[in-house]
């Protein structure tokens, strides 16, 4: 081999080795600097591509749900025609009863850009970021219940950890408040990997199959009353002083398209949102 060609080959190998080394360093970095680096790339180089992906997801949703959206728009229009009258009546009645204003929760609506590729199971990219008021460790919910928690916040987007992530922990209780435990992703084989697990329930609190499990509000991240799942089986083989249950999740992250990011703070009474929706968390 001529000397020039050999030098070129060595240079190529050195470049490839350097790239592989940098990639390996990124892989083993601690969470915080790795998240900062990923956020930097997302906020600069990848920002136009994220916008493209967001538009594409919106287009797909618009195409697939056009008919149902038209129906919803029609019914919303009909209801809104009566809204002013009902609102003023409500204010008048609350004044008569000397009640304060209705409770309001702060939330940020966002599109969930769910990927289907490798490495996309545990996180989801949200289309709202710090500029919209999103804060780290905010709960992310959908109409059917809990989706996850905001893990990283960029200027215009954020990344949420969703419940298949083994690091996600939610303090939970049965809907009637008789049993408490911690919900995590169930590390089971095959399709069981798509289920949740309620651990650490005291032995005297036996939950019947079909019981709805909601967030307990303990820990300060997830407000009380967000549906998490429904009990489908009691797990055997756990220690004698506690019970564990297998839950069917209220929300399947791959099906999530729109979410609400709850702002930490005034979330009292949030459980009434799902209590008013008898269909949520019901077995389907």
């Amino acid at each position: 081999m001529p000397r020039g060609a050999r030098t070129d080959t060595r240079a190529d190998t050195a470049i490839a080795a350097a790239c592989a080394l940098v990639a390996l360093i990124l892989l083993v970095l601690p969470d915080a600097p790795r998240a900062r680096t990923a956020g930097l790339v997302r906020g600069t180089l990848v920002a136009p591509l994220v916008t493209l992906q967001q538009r594409a997801s919106l287009a797909r949703r618009a195409f697939s749900s056009h008919d149902s959206l038209v129906l919803i728009a029609d019914s919303v229009l009909r209801r809104s025609q009566r809204l002013d009258e009902v609102t003023s009546e409500n204010v008048r009645l609350r004044g008569l009863l000397r009640l304060s204003e209705t409770i309001r929760w702060d939330f940020v609506p966002a599109e969930a850009l769910v990927g289907r590729g490798l490495g996309d199971d545990n996180t989801v990219l949200l289309s709202a970021g710090a500029r919209s008021g999103v804060k780290r460790l905010s709960a992310v919910v959908a109409t059917d219940g809990l989706v996850g928690m905001v893990q990283h916040v960029d200027a215009n987007s954020s990344v949420a950890m969703v419940w298949p992530n083994p690091e996600l922990r939610v303090s939970a209780t049965s809907a009637d408040g008789t049993a408490f435990g911690i919900v995590t992703a169930h590390q089971g084989p095959g399709a069981e990997g798509y289920l949740l697990e309620l651990r650490g329930v005291s032995f005297r609190s036996k939950l019947p199959l079909g019981s709805v499990v909601v967030s307990s509000g303990l820990g300060g991240v997830y407000p009380r009353g967000i549906p998490i799942g429904v009990v489908i089986e009691e797990l055997r083989g756990t220690a004698g002083w506690e019970r564990s249950y297998l839950l069917r999740p209220a929300v399947r992250p791959p099906d999530v398209t729109s979410v609400l990011i709850l702002q930490p703070g005034n979330t009292a009474g949030l459980d009434s949102v799902w209590r008013a929706q008898p269909d949520s968390s019901r077995p389907r």
């Binding site: 490839a16 990848v46 990927g115 095959g190």
Partner: protein, 161 residues
Amino acid sequence: MSARSVSIMIVVALMMALHFTLRPVLDWRAGVDFLTIAVLVVAVRVRPGVAALVGFAVGIVADALAPESFGAGALAMTIVGFAASRLKAAFFADNVLINAVFVFVGKVAFDLIFIVAERRLGGSGLAWQLLLWTPLSAVLTALVGLFVMSVVRPTLERRRG
């Protein structure tokens, strides 16, 4: 910058745009990996070092959207790009079938390296991924890659000549 380099950059940009627009629209579990196609299209036309750099850059872009595995995509794309460029003389020929096999193997190699580097999948999840989703995705990627290569080849070859 030569006209050929500009053409290659346009092809890469187009593939990346398709990856972030067409893929979410189709929303298939075993989707077409336009990023692997982009890296392979480049890899067979540049030096191995440049192919590794392009692979690294494309991998970082993909990783940024899934920070849990940040670095795994970059590592996998670097190795696929470098290896594809080194093996182009042996594998990249005018034979259509060989080109399809080239893309198929590239996609399978990418998934394998990614899964090993990410260290998340295991047990039956790993088996499903390697025995079903990866081959399905690789077949689709190979078909689309074949189409892309047949479209871009006349342009890129003419510019080289």
